[in-house]
């Protein structure tokens, strides 16, 4: 399987932020998205995940193959770590959460209410969710926010293991993750607002 993005244009807040984005990610490899703040990494990932519509262009395969880890984790503070994971697992028809707990070193915290975790512990839980989706393509938006060095290593291992099983990953980040895999600078794809002409009045709405 392969992730193919062909001249994709993504919009945010009614304006194009990126256009003509082209890349392919072969299974077993990872792609690292780079670019200054506000260039459109999050927007691109959300578009891949099917959370917002592309302005033009193609993405194959569809969202049903993708698992997306955003800035927000979507875990409930009142539920315990394992309860949160089990919920996501059930939802995706996965039965066993113990590997995920192990990979992200959460066994010790399994019984803790998620609300009582520290920032980094919360983050680990959020990442562990990906492992119970059973999806082939993993999309990460700044996954290592507030993770310490060991946890970053844990994360890198988990991703490598996933790649080893023929999965693939797209990671937007500002810092180095020690993940081999090619890198894509988004700078060049920045959308240039078309200069005003009479009859793009209609388009000027979009």
């Amino acid at each position: 399987m392969e992730l193919i993005v062909s001249d994709l244009a993504v919009i945010r807040g009614g304006m194009r932020v990126l256009e003509g984005v082209n890349f392919r990610v072969a299974s077993g490899t990872a792609l690292v998205l780079r670019g200054p703040n506000g260039i459109g990494k999050t927007t691109l990932l959300r578009t891949l995940a099917g959370l917002q519509l592309a302005d033009e262009g193609e993405v194959t395969p569809g969202p049903q193959e993708m698992a997306y880890a955003s800035h927000a984790d979507g875990n409930k503070g009142t539920l315990s770590v394992s309860e949160n994971l089990e919920f996501w697992a059930n939802l995706h028809g996965v039965t066993d959460i113990s590997p995920a707990l192990r990979d992200f070193n959460l066994e010790a915290l399994a019984a803790r209410p998620a609300g009582s975790l520290s920032a980094g512990q919360k983050r680990r839980l959020g990442l562990a969710r990906m492992a119970v989706t059973g999806r082939r393509i993993w999309l990460f938006d700044e996954p290592t926010v507030s993770l310490d060095v060991d946890s970053v290593a844990l994360f890198a291992d988990a991703v490598r293991r996933h790649l080893g099983q023929g999965g693939l990953a797209v990671v937007a980040t500002h810092i180095d993750l020690g993940l081999e895999g090619d890198m894509l600078q988004l700078g060049p794809f920045k959308a240039i607002p078309p200069e005003e002409t009479q009859d793009d009045f209609h388009e000027a709405f979009l």
């Binding site: 009614g14 304006m15 709405f205």
Partner: protein
């Protein structure tokens, strides 16, 4: 946007903002003149050149404002419904904006109908307000207008707002009709049924609660006048909305550049 445009191939092309602006700009003065004329004639005729009703006295003249505004109040919502459907199906921004523009007008008309009705009710029924189904369903209609407008103002992103309000408008219409029946079931009212458009009323042959011809022609005129007034307001407000929307779009461009 003043220079010539190619002739439209289909009616839908008028939904292109640019063509709409051109066309509406051309239409506006005619509508304005027509409206003022009919309204003036209808109201003046109605107020000064019709006899007082033997039963209701001069209060009957409220009908020249009351009935037309009530009529518009209902039809404004219908227009919003149609516009919303057009937006959802054919994605013409202008129609969404037209729906947005219609809401406050409709709400105002509802208020006028309620107010005039209340003023009329004081002499006729001896009370400002009675929980008559006709009246109450208008009150409920007003609530629907309120909710609709509140939703428009609450959402920043224009397209999202258009989508959501359209959905609300459609679902709301169903419930509005439901409520109307519910209300009629709930209470039998003192308010008279539709008689304006009954043949008997026009020919003056039917007996009770007829609106006889003397009152009928000026009433018709002022109804037409109100309709024109409504169209006029919608055109103006929609043009404003289009411009406002355009300004926001250009500002967004500015930011990105």
């Amino acid at each position: 946007m003043s220079e010539r445009l190619p002739k439209p191939k289909s009616l839908w092309e008028y939904a292109n903002p640019r063509r709409f602006m051109a066309f509406s700009g051309f239409l506006l003065p005619f509508v304005a003149v027509g409206t003022v004329a009919t309204l003036a004639i209808g109201l003046i005729w109605g107020f000064f050149f019709t006899p007082d009703d033997y039963r209701q006295g001069s209060t009957v003249k409220i009908i020249y404002i009351h009935v037309p505004s009530a009529m518009i109040a209902i039809n404004a919502w219908l227009m919003m419904l149609v516009a919303s459907l057009i937006w959802l199906i054919r994605r013409h921004h202008v129609s969404a904006l037209a729906a947005k523009a219609a809401a406050p007008v409709g709400a105002a008309m509802t208020l006028i109908a309620l107010a005039t009705g209340a003023i009329w009710g004081q002499p006729m029924w001896g009370t400002w307000w009675a929980w008559d189904p006709r009246l109450t369903s208008f009150l409920v209609l007003f609530l629907f207008y309120l909710g609709y407008m509140a939703l428009w103002t609450a959402i920043e992103n224009d397209d999202t707002a258009a989508e959501l309000t359209s959905v609300l408008c459609i679902v709301g219409s169903v419930f509005a009709v439901l409520s109307r029946y519910a209300l009629h079931f709930w209470n039998q009212g003192l308010h008279q049924g539709s008689s304006v458009l009954r043949a008997g009323a026009v020919t003056g042959t039917d007996t009770e609660e007829k609106v006889s011809n003397v009152f009928f022609y000026p009433l018709m005129l002022s109804m037409i006048g109100f309709a024109g007034f409504f169209v006029l307001l919608i055109l103006i407000r929609t043009r404003t909305e289009v411009r406002a929307r355009r300004i926001r779009a250009l500002q967004a461009r500015e930011r990105m550049a």
